[in-house]
Symmetry: C2
Subunit: 258 residues, 2 copies
């Protein structure tokens, strides 16, 4: 059987341990192409470069294997991969990650990891974002193993156009993980503030700081699921319409005043 | 009666004509504070600055009136306004715009204008994004008039937590506009490609170019509504869960393999 073709991207940059761990796991069963930002892209959201050019260069991933490093955002990397670097080649699946740090609840909005997968779905490719729920835990083996497993499942089952899977994996050993839950995006938001400081020239600057305000306690939600040592799988789409509000707004009877 | 307090931001930058037109219209009935990026921010998505500091300075909007120019994204501007510049002050409404160019269909994902309003809703403020559907039409009077009108309606009726209104106004005279429609986010996406060029040093670069592939023809959708000269009002939220897929995914019976 022909090997599937899998595009790998991320937002931590092409040099990150997470993307290398993913590449090592996925190349066992697929033809893999890595196209990712050349530098760490934190909280870039779904930004795309339109008012300046983008460039890319080949980048050594491991002995004899080259990926492509893009001077741009995660979404730029995926779009450039599909529209130019791999133009005309059928891509069976896109994987984004493995991100260092959870992408759950409100963080999905700011996430470059999810953004790369969103761009994949916009371009018609079944896409999965994979995050390891810790900034410090460096063992990607469970995450890479589950990424392989769910990649194979999606290659078999497919995903509806416009929907990606957002996968978060607890920073735990295989034995400590309680299982896999299908979840909803949590409601938790950031309780944040700006630290006000003075630079060496006595000029004021502000640095964002804060912690998540947990607003869910049901493992039906992504954030709580990983807190209870479950792998969380959330179907995410980019139809942002709040359908429940359409009728209410129609009843407002808005008219352009003369 | 006490005047409402309205925060105005945008993504075209604090010097843009659109934000000034909006400020002039809204100050007639509200106390207005303008906090916006110091430069044009195109297609920045919902990016937020976390790994470097942000700064702001006062910026003259018009005679004797100062706003605040933020060295950052639209979402940075709103967060810094709420968490620091206006800390402790009750903000009754956030308006983002008036953007030069429509923010409909897939563009909502990339839109800094919508992102500023999204950040407002995350921070618990009823928020409205306002765009004029042309990059060249310079008469903001109809758009500013309707922005005032819908601002007053939302001040009276409120919005559910987490939902903003995304308003798009045709680049037409008042007489040519057919009315106001409550719409859904359209399905149209970009048919784009990268133009490949050589810089003066003969180094390759790539520039994104393309046009929208129209996939809707029903004025129930934002893009088509403005094409038929209707003002489009879409309720947009940041719950990205595709609820329709939850049961299907549960039937996949995913398990972490030993």
């Amino acid at each position: 059987m022909k090997k599937p073709t899998i595009l790998i991207s991320n937002d931590d940059g092409i040099e990150s341990e997470g993307i290398k761990a993913l590449w090592r796991a996925i190349r066992k069963f697929a033809e893999v192409i890595v196209v990712a930002p050349n530098t760490q892209q934190s909280a870039v959201g779904h930004s795309i470069t339109v008012s300046s050019p983008v460039r890319y260069r080949k980048n050594l991933i491991d002995k004899n294997y080259y990926g492509y490093a893009v001077e741009g955002s995660p979404a730029d990397s995926v779009k450039l991969a599909v529209r130019n670097i791999l133009k005309g080649k059928k891509i069976d699946l896109l994987l984004s990650g493995i991100n260092h740090g959870a992408n759950t609840a409100i963080n999905i909005i700011y996430s470059g990891t999810v953004s790369a997968a969103t761009e994949g779905t916009i371009l018609g490719i079944p896409s999965i974002a994979v995050s390891l729920a810790s900034f410090t835990y460096n063992d990607f083996s469970v995450a890479a193993g589950f990424a392989s497993q769910i990649a194979k499942t999606v290659l078999k089952k497919g995903l509806p156009l416009g929907t990606l899977l957002n996968v978060n994996i607890p920073a735990k050993s295989r034995e400590e993980i309680n299982g896999v839950l299908i979840t909803k995006q949590g409601k938790s938001v950031w309780d944040d503030h700006y630290e006000q400081r003075l630079d060496p020239n006595k000029r004021e600057y502000f640095w964002l700081s804060g912690k998540m305000k947990i607003l869910d306690n049901d493992p039906d939600y992504d954030q709580t699921a990983i807190g209870e040592n479950y792998i969380s799988v959330t179907p995410v789409h980019y139809d942002l319409t709040n359908y429940a509000l359409l009728d209410e707004l129609k009843s407002w009877d808005l008219k352009l005043k003369k």
